[in-house]
Symmetry: C3
Subunit: 393 residues, 3 copies
Amino acid sequence: MSADAEQRLAEAIERMPLVDHHAHGLLPDPTEADLLDALTQAEHAASVADVFDSGQGFALRRHCAPLLGLPSFASPAAYLAARRTLGADEVARRLLRASGIAAYLVDDGHRPDLLMADERMARLADARVHRVARLETIAERVLAESSSGGEFVARLGPALEAAAAEAVAFKTVAAHRCGLGLDPARPTAVEVRSAADVWSASERAGAGDAGPAASARPRLTDPTIIRHLIWWALERGAVLQVHAGFGDADLVLEASNPARMQALVAATAGTGGRIAFLHCSPFVREAGWLAHVFPHVFVDVGLAVGFLGANADSVVREAFDLAPFSRVLFSSDAWGVPERVLLGARLWRDAAARVLGGYVADHGWPVDEATRIAEGVAWRNAERLYGRRFVEA
Amino acid sequence: MSADAEQRLAEAIERMPLVDHHAHGLLPDPTEADLLDALTQAEHAASVADVFDSGQGFALRRHCAPLLGLPSFASPAAYLAARRTLGADEVARRLLRASGIAAYLVDDGHRPDLLMADERMARLADARVHRVARLETIAERVLAESSSGGEFVARLGPALEAAAAEAVAFKTVAAHRCGLGLDPARPTAVEVRSAADVWSASERAGAGDAGPAASARPRLTDPTIIRHLIWWALERGAVLQVHAGFGDADLVLEASNPARMQALVAATAGTGGRIAFLHCSPFVREAGWLAHVFPHVFVDVGLAVGFLGANADSVVREAFDLAPFSRVLFSSDAWGVPERVLLGARLWRDAAARVLGGYVADHGWPVDEATRIAEGVAWRNAERLYGRRFVEA
Amino acid sequence: MSADAEQRLAEAIERMPLVDHHAHGLLPDPTEADLLDALTQAEHAASVADVFDSGQGFALRRHCAPLLGLPSFASPAAYLAARRTLGADEVARRLLRASGIAAYLVDDGHRPDLLMADERMARLADARVHRVARLETIAERVLAESSSGGEFVARLGPALEAAAAEAVAFKTVAAHRCGLGLDPARPTAVEVRSAADVWSASERAGAGDAGPAASARPRLTDPTIIRHLIWWALERGAVLQVHAGFGDADLVLEASNPARMQALVAATAGTGGRIAFLHCSPFVREAGWLAHVFPHVFVDVGLAVGFLGANADSVVREAFDLAPFSRVLFSSDAWGVPERVLLGARLWRDAAARVLGGYVADHGWPVDEATRIAEGVAWRNAERLYGRRFVEA
């Protein structure tokens, strides 16, 4: 009977729609090198073997190969050949639709120039696509259009409001820019203006050195301006997604610990804004505690689920430790290629079925209760957090 | 045969008396809001769902509901109704007695004004209650009675001695006040006096501002005075309980890592005092290493066991990794409501039976040896550490 | 069929030769106190019980006792008596040969005066012994022979080259000396010379104070010189082993986190050198991420495997999470006594069989693929990394 209960839970989880509350767009026609690079957090894939002989690589061969008409655990060479034969759109169509994701919240802050339009992704996936606005990207665009710190400050507010009108949430990559150990205080207007002056001057000096043609896109690393953006988003009652935990080598791992942000989280508890810590591994337990003690904090374990492969259970389990279950979310954090979407969804379903199935079998959880908890993570908690219907009735 | 060995181990663990070497008192007649608040580390429970839809909440519905005459996994509403019907004393009596805890070491440092007298708790529980004296609370009481830093220093020693006469151990909440990253050096008398002058003056200034009626209880956060208290306790050969790891949002999570205290632990190795790191999650492995390399260090995994619910195994397992088995202790860290006592005991027994049962089944541990190790954690190690008989023969 | 696949995998892992890419020499004739001290990371074993009632102690009684002709889980007293009866050489011969280790890479940096010659260990083990040169030890020897910072700098290069001619790799104990949070910049010649002057002067001042007879061996803790040594090794394209994670109390646990070294790892990515983070527990996930994002980084989980005993699975599992499988290595980190060699090997085989066997059973991994991955960790990855044949065809 217990094996039957676990089976019923696994089937229920299999059928659930998912809301991927944090993903990125897809490359329209990735080369093999693009594909390999998109399958690692290293700057470039060191080799085919590095990508395929890994937790994620084994999961890819197991789960994606059959969707391309290959046997499970087909060789990397056979997989890459099948991908070429089918073409990027057909591969995307198959993998995205097999994921069971009904809606994507897409952050286009990382190399949007390379990625397909939302409409095309929505069509391939047969799913809805919503926008998450990355605060640093908005600020960088405004700075590029401003000739002084004063102009930047004047233009920033309207630019943020315009982004807010089109987005369901904001996102910060403070972890990549200055670390999460931010001063909790809301910066004053004078502090923001002063920081903007310094940033503007330093970007123009850099552009000046290299000449106009070489002028690089501005890069925001100033913690005062980043804190200003964070406070702005939370004070308007928005959901702020915060990258936490591992990512690419552009971040300092220790500084990406969500616990570093504790003082700022505490300071913003009364704003009406909500904070969703994304991914968090290897600091899932720290993030779970923040969700436990602060009612405006949510957590997901995206990214790690896809990369850990067979050990995805470990992070899915940790997410249920201290966080109230209603504040745990699903995401893939996929970027560039549909394999990462499929793996994010497939591995979460399997891990959730195993972890919660174990709690049914060994800890007496009624299967209906376990199903309800899984459903919350799959899509209901996201609908409540973002205040939107993402899944069709 | 292996399943039989596991069964014998589980039965032995079920019958063991427990010494809860770190708990708190109970609220005499909690309202529903009190109950919910006592079941979270958040300042206030955000909602009934936040408390019940969680690892601890599911464990509560599973294990406490039947003790109130309800089916396992009764609804939160049914549970709260049954609690009202039975009354606080009857609920406490049932849950405390079902825990199998023979003795409690009670730290009354957190809101003692709200909690019932030890004698009443002992009667309800049919167990012994011993006292743990919280160093910061003693110092704060002394400061409130002193009109200068000099008077504080003069009164402190006698007050500590008086507390020592009634307590089986001391406790520090340095993690909540200044973090565990303390300078290892024993403060000099001049340093203590100077810090006392500053604290005394600042408390009197604060009281003066608000007027005498509003004068708040002093709060000790000065690391020099806290170090003085720690050295004092250890140099007199006492057991010093040190809160480590997660708790309420009053502590900075990263600063509660017991590894932060390594230098002070090393410096006090020759004092004759012993240090018991309490709870420690998510830093159980760090605490286990400290116990491994320093013979005066002990660890427990209270608090987390109750809150993690179905995943309590993870912390119970980690406590056996590096710490010598004779230096692992049991506690509930329950505060306010008997549910936390019952869950601390129930989940520890189940987790210990599963973890050690797995070591019997898969790693060849003889069931008698596994039973002996469990018995050490359950009560024998505490009797050795505190040098007292807590359990009746 | 799945149980059969797991069985085939376990048998394959049982038969694999191992390359222990980081170990130390053995005490030629340890007393009982020596044995106990060698079985703990504490400065001295607090008691027989502390050593034997532990994860490692239970594993020792289970796995080593039968090799000395005793029943599994013989008492500590019986084990110690059998050891005396057989004699140190016979015990070493039995345990080393039972380990299935074909080659040892031996770091003689910790108390080499106490340890047997490589040739004797090779004969007892019937295995090859290669040398790992500890950078700090070389520098300390050079300083002892130099009368000034200038002379130290002049002699250091040739001494390092001489060591390189005899060693297959270098090792740094920066974690024990100044922590891994090193400035990433390559020190200039002027900076190195200046640091050498300070170190030389302070060692001579120390020796002068105590008189020539008491002059202690110099101890290198200067981070500039240590960084110089690290850069020197990596720029010549060598493999640099870096102790990370727990060890004895001589290191600061938090400062041994390999993530602390992220900036230096990033800065040396283009040197041609490779970094092998040793042991890493409890920071295995951090080390795995560094291996994921930096192609010149390798990880092992030695040391912890032997000490954790029945929970060795946890670190073996974490090592497969993010690191490309081809960059995971086996080591024992044994020092002084052959029990630690046997346990390192025995517990790794068992844990790898269980972890990868679970991936076969529950995650569809083909048994041949799992065998290939295990074989990489057992010896092939070490041969590739060090560019040598360690295992006879």
